[in-house]
């Protein structure tokens, strides 16, 4: 069997390179637990469907959704005394078309009674410009701009009859690809979250696609599809990012588990 082991010795360093792309949830130590985020996609109050369902914005313009995905990073948990646990290497891909990506696990969270949780929609500037990476940041996840070598933080695609379109088409395309440094937005939830031995609390979060376009607090940022239907980073991206920061994510419930 000697030769067997020699062959694997050769594989070792190469395998280590590959392994970073597929790490398993580490078993929690005695003094740590885990928190999960369960990300549901909705439009208004209805679950998001990719079946051609037409949704309406507050102004009556309608839209269908064919794609909705985004990157979540830099999860932080806050304690009552104001101290913060920042989860290292917390990068997640959420694709509403792939149910398996809705379940985000934050491992190795120190046991404590937390009062809130925050995450960033997008990738921090340092990692955003660090070139192609692995895992959630694998450029093959369809959230990477090859031509700028940066990540797309959030992608919504669909159609709307109010969007500009060719004469022969009934609808125009909706393409909201939000990225570039400056469009990262931090989402903060204030909610008791007890991470105790034997407990893995789950935060159920709803991401409302409609909130990309309807900003309840700042009407001037509402998106009119006849004027804005194709955003690829650039001047309009911060407006859309402001919208999803303002009201896209809400906590529907917390399971103590």
């Amino acid at each position: 069997m000697k030769r067997y082991f020699r062959a694997w010795a050769l594989l070792g360093p190469l395998a280590a390179l590959a392994a970073s792309g597929c790490k398993k949830d580490e078993a929690a130590g005695a003094d740590t637990g885990s928190v999960s985020l369960e990300m549901a996609a909705v439009v208004g109050t209805a679950p998001l469907a990719f079946d051609g369902t037409s949704y309406a914005k507050a102004d009556g313009q309608t839209f269908k959704v064919t794609k909705f995905k985004y990157l979540v990073s830099n999860v932080k948990l806050t304690r009552a005394d104001g101290t913060v646990y920042a989860a290292p290497e917390s990068y997640y891909l959420v694709d509403a078309a792939q149910p398996a990506t809705a379940h985000l696990v934050v491992p190795n969270v120190p046991l404590a009674a937390y009062t809130g949780l925050s995450f960033v929609v997008g990738v921090d500037p340092l990692r955003n410009t660090a070139g192609a990476q692995t895992g959630a940041l694998d450029p093959n996840n369809d959230l990477y701009w090859d031509w700028t070598a940066g990540y797309v933080f959030l992608k919504m695609e669909g159609t709307s009859p109010q969007a500009p379109h060719a004469a022969a088409a009934a609808e125009g395309g909706l393409r909201f690809h939000i990225g570039d440094n400056g469009t990262q937005r931090t989402i903060t939830f204030t909610t008791p979250l007890v991470v105790a031995a034997g407990h893995a609390p789950a935060l159920h979060v709803q991401a409302n696609v409609q909130a990309l376009f309807d900003n309840a607090a700042t009407a001037s940022k509402n998106v009119d599809f006849s004027k804005m239907s194709d955003v690829m980073g650039g001047a309009n991206a911060p407006t859309v990012a402001d919208n999803y920061a303002a009201g896209m994510f809400t906590v529907s419930r917390v399971d103590a588990n």
Partner: protein, 381 residues
């Protein structure tokens, strides 16, 4: 033991060569649980040897490897024999390899695949490579996983038209196959399940990652000419006037040139083939087809699900000038993809020179190593 050692020796030599080329080993299965053990040995039969799947370093590190069908040297070898086996068709004339020819990147050069008795398939045979990342296969995504996919061409009346039970009986009656199945899956009779599993294993090993484009992606800047680099730049760029782009990579994304979804790319205003809707029954999926990888695209003409375009120039002309804007469910990336300063709703508007550069880039996706790799060819034993 002698056999085991020689297998490792062979693989070792190959790995040294591959390793130098900047290639890494997929050290994980899809659940991230590490290499799966091969099936337990049956009494009196040597355990199969884990197959060292080697993936190019510019490829994603998360291939779909089902835990109930781990790759083994013996399973892959059996699958290769089966892939070239004509007795799997009802009249012993058609093998998988009849429509999936290695020299054409596992296509057949035809608009419509031809099965037993000259039957014509309404669709074109798809190229087989880098399928480890595609959760849904065939043009309409009917099959989830290569094991499920293998069943269709074997049994379909216009392809090989033979029940799996009949195939199993034919294989069982040939001297070589019971032994090959036993090596791969343990003692016992040939089974339908293991037939599908072996074929899936072989197809999973068809990795194409040594094109000039791959070499360029792995750091060899001399691998592409200036025109080819310009074509690549256009290919990956989303047009956003004044930034000019070919609008290709929103769908043909990343190193595999696919985001693994299904879209309507505007071929027809009315559909004769419902595409993805065949599988889902949803009106919203009508006219959508799988976004194929563009690996070896210069070898896989004619193009589209029905082979309607003879050349890559025809394909570029379609996207640039002939989109059927009245087509239901037309993809947003096509609806909004334009270089025109007039904005969304206009055609793509590339110049002839730009189209030529994109075609030049597409030709750099040809992997001459892949189409000559003896591991994928007709078995000689």
């Amino acid at each position: 033991m002698k056999q085991l050692s020689s297998q490792w020796l062979r693989r070792g030599r190959w790995l040294v060569a591959a390793g130098l080329a900047g290639i890494i080993v997929a050290a994980c299965s899809h659940d991230g649980g590490g290499t799966d053990p091969p099936p337990a040995p049956a009494p009196g039969v040597a355990a199969p040897t884990a197959y060292a799947l080697v993936l190019p370093s510019n490829f994603p590190a998360n291939p779909l490897l089902p835990t109930d069908n781990p790759l083994t040297v013996e399973g892959v070898d059996l699958g290769r024999h089966l892939f070239y086996e004509k007795t799997l068709s009802v009249d012993n004339t058609v093998a998988c390899a009849s429509c999936h020819r290695q020299e054409l990147a596992f296509t057949d050069g035809l608009a419509h695949a031809v099965g037993v008795n000259g039957a014509q398939h309404p669709r074109s045979a798809m190229s087989l490579s880098n399928l480890l990342w595609d959760p849904l296969l065939t043009w309409d995504g009917t099959a989830a996983g290569l094991e499920a996919q293998a069943r269709t061409p074997l049994t379909n009346a216009i392809e090989m038209h033979q029940t799996l039970a009949a195939s199993v009986a034919k294989l069982q009656a040939q001297p070589r196959y019971p032994a090959l199945f036993a090596k791969a899956f343990g003692a016992g009779p040939v089974t339908e399940d293991n037939l599908l599993k072996a074929l899936a294993q072989f197809v999973r090993t068809l990795v194409s990652g040594n094109s000039h484009y791959d070499q360029y992606r792995r750091g060899n800047r001399a691998a592409l000419s200036a025109d080819e680099v310009n074509g690549l730049q256009l290919f990956i760029t989303h047009p956003s006037p004044p930034l000019r782009g070919g609008n290709c990579a929103d769908c043909h994304a990343g190193d595999l040139q696919t985001n693994h979804t299904f879209v309507n790319n505007g071929l027809d205003a009315a559909f004769t083939d419902l595409g993805r809707a065949t599988a889902t029954g949803l009106a919203a999926d009508q006219g959508k087809f799988r976004i194929p990888s563009l690996r070896n695209i210069a070898l896989t003409a004619p193009y589209m699900h029905d082979g309607r375009f003879a050349t890559l120039d025809d394909v570029l002309a379609h996207y640039n000038e002939h989109i059927a804007f009245g087509s239901p469910n037309l993809d947003a990336n096509i609806l909004n993809g334009t270089n025109s300063p007039l904005g969304p709703g206009q055609p793509l508007d590339l110049t002839d020179a730009e189209k030529k550069q994109i075609v030049l880039f597409l030709k750099t996706l040809t992997d001459s190593t892949f189409i000559q790799d003896p591991r994928f060819g007709r078995p000689t034993d």
